[in-house]
């Protein structure tokens, strides 16, 4: 297979796909999308990069082992659920929103951070699985 096209394309596709993943993550609160789909798209971006440039380059690009994204995402999701309990004495998972929406990103609140946690867990889990499979081949 001629890898030149794939290599060149993946170099441009990686940032584009990651941007798209973030877009899906942010739009997910009221519209279709969210952390799970966004995380899958981001994972696909890295998998595509690994196909073109080899696993080692992608691992180097990621810097940390993707496995650690799972506890980090879980901790972020739990934290965003516990914040209303600890800060306001409200029930678990109550949404606390910043009063004014920010430009581009939109409303910022604990549900966004919960979704971000899901995003990280999905990237971590799918990359760990895919990297492990392609390593043992």
């Amino acid at each position: 297979m001629n890898k030149l096209i794939l290599r060149t394309a993946s170099r441009y596709l990686l940032p584009l796909l990651l941007l798209f993943a973030v877009f899906i993550l942010l739009r997910g609160h009221y519209l279709p999308g969210g952390g799970f789909v966004g995380g899958l798209v981001a994972a696909i971006a890295f998998v595509l990069h690994a196909f073109a440039h080899g696993l080692r380059t992608t691992r180097h690009l990621l810097r940390i082992h993707p496995g650690y994204l799972m506890p980090a995402g879980l901790a972020l999701a739990i934290g965003s659920g516990l914040l209303p309990v600890l800060a306001r004495g409200r029930p678990f998972l109550t949404g606390i929103w910043h009063p004014e929406p920010l430009a581009v990103i939109g409303g910022i609140g604990t549900p966004l951070f919960f979704d971000l946690g899901v995003f990280l867990v999905v990237i971590g889990a799918s990359l760990t699985i895919l990297f492990t499979i392609s390593e043992t081949r």
């Binding site: 496995g67 650690y68 799972m70 506890p71 980090a72 879980l74 901790a75 739990i78 516990l82 309990v85 004495g89 409200r90 029930p91 678990f92 998972l93 109550t94 949404g95």
Partner: protein, 502 residues
């Protein structure tokens, strides 16, 4: 601030798992974290139990969404007591696993998955939303499958495939029943469902959905005739894992049957008769299976099936006295079955063989500790001062009052058969001289670090002994729980305070 208290049994285990995932490369810390964490979570569970005993109910509406719309977490005495017992059993398993589980399994995440499983068990006990219950069951299946197959031995995979196939099938059936109910009522909150289902005209469809639930939960609780995955899989993993499964996993299915069939399907002659017949069937096949089995842990696995029949038969009779016997038996069974499989683990280490015929000499190797190991064994048979005796009295007296002679007969025959099986295990494993050629690995257990394996067994034996010697508080708790289960109004009012019953 009742919120955090009901969250702790669920969230605390999740936090422990997250901490251990961060320490993935340092597995030597996992044992300590798990032991300390399990002890703390037992204290939290006790705190929740005291709160529930003081105020009757602890309800949390997650995300501040009011009851029929959001997900409710509900702790009544039944849930709270089961959470306490699960934490005690979990603590014993965690302490035992800290010694017995090899470093290879710890490195592949035994303890994080163990705490995910504990989270799932507590979540299933506490949720008030039927779809959420399904989600907890999924968490249970996935983490238990990992624990069952971790280590990758051939027989583990063989057992795991049967376990996973049947349990996923059960989940699909359970989900189908939820879908039917949602289609009929548009509700998922259990209290809301209970109200809306009463108003339905199409009783046939309601009854069919009940049968679908019974099939799904029946597989999970290893009820006759869909029990065969249990003796095929529970003896394959390390004993710490079997103990957890035997003590808690099938009991989650039993809890779900208790909750759903008291709240959503109160007193339906057809469903109750069917449940009674299936319970009697479970008692019969369970004891017959244990009768002819030679493998130690498989023998105990068959007895699980028989005793599930004891418990569910009590529900089928729909009588407060029998039901309280069933609830008491459930409490006793969680502690004793966990202890029994931990015992089996110790015995396997001493004798080195799973076969009852080929083993022996444990009494000689461990004269004093054998008495401790005997407590779960004889509590199972229901010998009077131990915890199995009292619930059987209530069960027998209650079923005789109801004129349910078949069930009462099965109960008596099942108890006698259990006694016979435990006597066989006692004489075969403890009394009999070890067959020539087998070396009893006595120093392995009595000296050195393996001695610590005996402490969790002692802990569970003491709990069982306490329940047997002081049965009155447990009996009155079981009485209160069974009247609470029979009277749905309290539950519905606690979850939906704005709605009044018509």
């Amino acid at each position: 601030m009742s919120g955090p208290l009901i969250l702790q049994p669920v969230l605390f285990h999740l936090l422990l798992s997250v901490l251990m995932l961060f320490l993935w490369r340092q597995p030597r810390y996992h044992r300590g974290i798990s032991a300390v964490g399990s002890a703390l979570s037992t204290l939290f569970a006790l705190a929740l139990w005291y709160r529930v005993e003081a105020s009757g109910w602890v309800v949390l509406q997650a995300g501040q969404w009011p009851a029929p719309f959001g997900i409710s977490l509900v702790a009544d005495s039944f849930s709270a007591t089961l959470v306490v017992l699960a934490s005690v059993a979990g603590l014993a398993v965690s302490l035992y696993a800290g010694r017995a589980i090899g470093m290879a399994r710890v490195r592949f995440g035994f303890f994080p998955v163990f705490h995910f499983l504990m989270m799932g068990i507590n979540g299933a006990f506490l949720t008030g939303d039927i779809f959420n219950l399904y989600v907890w069951f999924e968490i249970l299946i996935i983490s238990s499958f990992v624990l069952l197959t971790l280590g990758g031995e051939k027989r583990q995979i063989q057992g795991g495939v049967k376990y996973f196939t049947l349990n996923v099938l059960a989940s699909v059936i359970f989900l189908t029943a939820i879908a039917v109910l949602y289609g009929l009522t548009g509700a998922l909150n259990m209290a809301d469902l209970a109200l809306k289902m009463d108003a339905l005209d199409n009783r046939t469809l309601v009854r069919i959905s009940g049968l679908v639930f019974l099939t799904g939960f029946g597989i999970k609780a290893a009820l006759f005739p869909l029990y065969f995955w249990l003796p095929a899989s529970y003896h394959t993993p390390p004993s710490a894992v079997s103990a957890l499964f035997a003590g808690l996993l099938t009991k989650v299915g039993v809890y779900a049957i208790f909750r759903i069939f008291t709240l959503l399907y109160p007193k339906d002659f057809f469903i109750d008769s069917l449940l009674l017949a299936l319970s009697v069937g479970s008692i019969v096949v369970g004891t017959l299976g244990a009768w002819r089995e030679d493998d130690l842990r498989r023998t105990f696995s068959w007895l699980i099936i028989a005793h599930i029949g004891f418990i569910l038969g009590a529900l089928a009779l729909r009588d407060a006295r029998t039901l309280s016997g069933g609830v008491f038996y459930l409490f006793h069974d969680i502690i004793v079955k966990t202890g029994l499989f931990l015992c089996a683990g110790v015995i396997l280490r001493i004798t080195g063989t799973a076969s009852i015929k080929a083993s022996g000499g444990v009494m000689e190797a461990l004269p004093r500790w054998s008495l401790v190991l005997a407590i779960p064994l004889f509590a199972l048979a229901g010998i009077p001062p131990l915890s199995g005796f009292w619930p059987k009295v209530s069960l027998l007296a209650g079923s005789a009052d109801q004129g349910a002679w078949v069930y009462a007969g099965a109960l008596l025959a099942g108890s006698l058969a259990t006694l016979w099986v435990t006597a066989r295990v006692w004489s075969g494993v403890f009394w009999k001289a070890p067959p020539s050629g087998m070396e009893v690995k006595e120093p392995l257990v009595t000296a050195g670090r393996d001695r610590a394996l005996l402490w969790p067994v002692l802990m569970l034996a003491l709990v069982s002994l306490g329940m047997g010697l002081f049965p009155e508080p447990v009996q009155s708790l079981a009485d209160r729980i069974s009247t609470g289960l029979m009277d749905r109004e309290g539950y519905i009012r606690a979850v939906l305070p704005t709605l009044s019953m018509q």
